[in-house]
Symmetry: C2
DNA sequence: CCACACTTAAGTCAAGCGACTGATTTAAAT
DNA sequence: ATTTAAATCAGTCGCTTGACTTAAGTGTGG
């Protein structure tokens, strides 16, 4: 058993290098603008088919990148859920939605590429489903949404769905935009991911509590 | 003068066919997943270089598509600006931001592809600038933002910028999401673009008026 | 100690790409 | 009627792509 482990270490190192290189190149140049060959090369692999060997298709590689980060976000969200318990404050639940994502980005070595990567994948018609699957697979996320629904003001169901989508889009694309600004060294409204999260939470809570035109 | 016009009619017809085909293919399969050859073919052109002849690079084609729609949105926004005059109601100005875009989508023959196209272009690192340029070139948009700033509650500058970005992202990606749902024939929270605009305006106003955590 | 499975390297292949070329069609201008 | 130039067509070019094959290296389990 430990026998296999050692051999797998080398393969895992290569897999990791490929994942890191792919995430970076995808975020910087676009998922479809980067070929598997370029990823292999950037990961220091002589074999132009290294991506194919370790992951399969580009879609599989995208899924692997998404999953890797999703696991970390999941861990952070579970911890936060334990803290807020069964709070009835809407803000707490919005925070449970927002904070883990931005905390994860804060923990990553900078510069980060994950947010831009996610935004691209979610926007691409062929890859969209991959990212959606990976997100919905999170038990912590489901628990958050449930807890959130419990303490939310009465809203028509269609408005509820609509605003959920708004919150989702805001988190995703505001993170991507901030990450892009950091990478380009342009000014950002907030000086840290933590502050950016606070601003996001303010906005999303306001969005949820807004009166509904009938 | 009318001499040239007629000859140009044929070219314009071809240009139009290419624009329409490109917009559709880009939205459905992704901008980078579609080659210029495929666009030419889908536009009924025997020449595999038709895109190159009429537009140049793919980026130029993307810009042409964006500009075409931006002009129509501009017209709708100018009309709405005339209606609201110098209102001091925040909601009027948010409507001036939102309504023209969704009205434009409502006026297009369905199914539409423009919103998904825009979302992709804005999210792609290489194309992002194109779309940003085309948007910022709009005088009506600038006037809207100015009128908006005039009647907005006092906010720290960084929060102001931040919430502007949130509103922008919401409009773009909620439209794209609704368009995708319509294309896939899945359920949408709202039954019309007009109602969707109302929901969006509700949310964005709430977002702007939300209290700021200090 | 050796045979083996796993990983990496190196190179091949057909297909598709953008860019380019020269010929042909079309209709306005002379 | 002839000329001219825009527009379209048909085909070629070098290059990159993903997929595939073959060979070499490496530590494990028998």
């Amino acid at each position: 058993m430990a026998a296999r482990a050692v051999r797998h270490e080398r393969a895992d190192a290569t897999r990791g290098a490929i994942l890191a290189a792919a995430e970076r190149l995808f975020a910087e140049r676009g998922v479809y603008a980067v070929s598997n060959r370029q990823v292999s090369e950037a990961a220091g692999q002589g074999n132009n088919a290294a991506v194919g060997y370790h992951f399969g298709t580009k879609a599989d590689l995208v899924r692997a990148i998404a999953r890797q980060h999703a696991e970390q976000v999941e861990r952070l969200r579970l911890r936060l859920l334990a803290e807020i318990g069964d709070s009835t404050d809407v803000r707490d639940w919005v925070a449970a939605l927002v904070r883990p994502v931005l905390e994860h980005l804060a923990e990553l070595p900078s510069p980060t590429w994950y947010a831009r990567f996610c935004a691209q994948v979610m926007t691409d018609p062929a890859l969209h489903e991959i990212m959606a699957d990976e997100s919905l697979a999170s038990p912590a996320l489901r628990r958050t949404v449930e807890g959130f629904n419990r303490c939310l003001p009465e809203l028509p169901i269609e408005v509820h769905i609509e605003r959920g989508a708004m919150a989702r889009n805001l988190i995703l694309h505001m993170c991507a935009e901030r990450e892009r600004a950091l990478a380009e060294n342009t000014t950002t409204p907030r000086s840290s991911w933590h502050d950016a999260a606070t601003g996001l939470i303010d906005g999303i809570v306001g969005l949820w509590l807004a009166p509904v035109t009938r």
